[in-house]
């Protein structure tokens, strides 16, 4: 059974509807890519899952329907959502941002171990612990967002364009760590990306959205190998 399932999800903002019936699933411990052009509804799909936008249809996480649940309760089920713009709390320090990631956990010893791992993945965060998060560069903020999501000890991460605005070298490093978290902790990932080539390399399955519908779906290697799909939807 899939960890996350969306069934005919429709969603929008006020009178404007953005998703016209999206169905997809993320198996336990897998990375799934969600691709598509700007405005196709990728971000709205993620926002539907964590209750940031009103939706109809059904969304189930670990067998439980998320209908009518508030964002904070969805998150407490084990979903970490790194939103568009990364959701860094710039008024707070780096350390305080990390603490907000782990503040609901009661497994103190494991939390300390996870902090050690976070600082091993992102040494720069240890150096900047006491500084205001607003002083971090874009790449460092993305690292902080990912580190904070990891400290939530989720079963599923929703990542909204982790590569946006970052230098290729930093993108490489960040994706490497996403892969490490995925393999070592069996955290499933639903990855929204503009950079389709990179996303397909990482993921096992992929969905391509077009104006609020799933246009193509399949295993990542199928999509990578299909020239027609690549040209018309992925643009490379």
């Amino acid at each position: 059974m899939a960890l996350l399932e969306l069934e005919e999800v429709r969603a929008g903002y006020g009178p404007t509807s953005v998703l016209h019936g999206v169905s997809l699933s993320v198996p336990e411990g897998q990375i799934v890519s969600l691709l598509g052009a700007n405005g196709a509804g990728k971000t709205t799909t993620l926002r539907s899952i964590t209750g940031g936008v009103h939706w109809t249809g059904d969304i189930r996480f670990a067998g439980r329907s998320l209908r009518r649940m508030h964002t904070e309760d969805v998150v407490r089920c084990g979903i970490a959502h790194v939103p568009e713009g990364r959701g860094i709390l710039t008024e707070l320090t780096v350390d305080e941002n990390l603490k907000l990631g782990s503040h609901l956990r009661r497994d103190g010893a494991a939390v300390r171990k996870d902090y050690d791992r976070v600082f091993e993945y992102f040494p720069v965060l240890r150096e900047r612990r006491g500084l205001s998060a607003s002083t971090l560069s874009g790449g460092e903020q993305q690292m902080l967002a990912l580190a904070r999501a990891f400290l939530m000890k989720p079963r599923l991460m929703l990542l909204d364009e982790p590569s946006l605005g970052l230098a290729p070298l930093i993108v490489r490093a960040i994706f490497e760590i996403i892969r490490t978290i995925n393999t070592e902790d069996r955290v499933a990932v639903l990855l929204v990306e503009q950079n389709a080539r990179l996303a397909l390399e990482m993921s096992s399955d992929a969905y391509v959205l077009e104006v609020g519908r799933v246009a193509v779906s399949g295993t990542s290697s199928e999509l990578k190998g299909n020239d027609a799909v690549r040209r018309s939807y992925l643009g490379y």
Binding site: T50, G52, H70, T71, E72, V75, R76, H81, P83, G87, I88, L89, T90, E91, L92, E96, K99, L100, G101, H103, L104, R148, M152
Partner: protein
């Protein structure tokens, strides 16, 4: 020189009273960008509760924390019942609601307790003690100590506890906080509860000086506004520093400027508000706010 020192100590004591109420204003302003015009009246009502407890034979130092707990619960109740249903309303609507709340609480207190000023006990004697050549009254020192302890407690709560961290997070970035599992709406309620409790300290401290009646806080809230604006309306530390500065300034102006005397002290506070807004709109500790339009 000696008299100056005494006036400064006395001004710091008054400043502690202003600071408590100013901090209450800042807590709510931070949580929802709203100036709570009912803050003074909430403090006044809490002071009546304290007096009722003491009149029923409760020891002052038991009645004090009990009142804070009642004020805390009352603040939460007001947020849940009055503010929650209109949480997403435009800010002007909310401001009008707090003004209405102020009128309502004022009338309610008058209806229940009457308008005759009542003596309120002080646990501190008015005797003076000699500190480094300056005479300070136990009353002033006691007010400074109580305000100091309460303000320090709030500071520790906000800066060094998890619940304080989530309150600050919810105040600055509600959406991002929800995604981290913070119950933002409850944090707002908690902010109202804390503000109500801190504000009531100012009521209890000022009542022995001004006598307790429903309009007691109406000038104090102006001084508290001055303190909050001077410190930077978003800064808890600014509220405290602002409170002390306003307290000392107003006190010294009253004594040393013959044309101010006791009558124009409030005008000094208003001058501070206007002066700060003209010269340094973000106050001493406020950050300049940049808004994209």
């Amino acid at each position: 020189m000696q008299e100056l020192l005494q006036q400064i100590v006395s001004g710091i004591a008054t400043g502690g009273i202003f600071a408590s109420l100013a901090l209450a204003l800042v807590l709510i302003y931070n949580a929802m960008g709203l100036v709570n015009f009912a803050q003074g009246e909430m403090a006044m009502l809490a002071t009546f509760v304290a007096l009722a407890l003491i009149d029923h034979g409760m020891n002052y130092w038991i009645a004090f924390p009990v009142t804070l707990v009642i004020a805390f619960a009352g603040g939460i109740a007001i947020e849940r019942v009055v503010i929650r249903p209109v949480e997403r309303a435009p800010i002007l609507t909310l401001v009008i609601i707090t003004l209405g709340l102020a009128t309502l609480i004022n009338g309610l207190a008058g209806f229940i307790f009457g308008y005759v000023p009542r003596a309120f006990p002080s646990p501190f004697s008015v005797q003076t003690v000699n500190i480094l050549g300056a005479l300070a009254s136990y009353q002033d020192l006691g007010v400074i100590a109580v305000s100091g302890v309460v303000l320090l407690a709030i500071y520790m709560l906000l800066q060094h506890t998890t619940v304080g961290l989530t309150m600050r997070a919810a105040a600055h970035h509600p959406e991002a906080s929800r995604l981290l599992g913070v119950h933002v709406s409850w944090m707002l309620a908690l902010g109202w509860g804390l503000a109500s409790a801190v504000g009531s300290v100012s009521g209890i401290m000022v009542a022995p000086i001004l006598l307790l009646q429903p309009n007691m806080m109406q000038t104090i809230i102006i001084y508290a506004f001055a303190a909050a604006v001077l410190g930077g309306i978003e800064s808890p530390l600014g509220a405290v520093v602002g409170g002390v500065i306003v307290g000392v300034t107003v006190n010294l102006a009253g004594v040393y400027l013959p044309f101010v005397g006791g009558d124009l002290q409030l005008a000094v506070a208003l001058a501070i508000i206007v002066g700060v807004l003209v010269l340094k709109p973000n106050g001493l500790f406020g950050r300049p706010s940049v808004r994209r339009v």
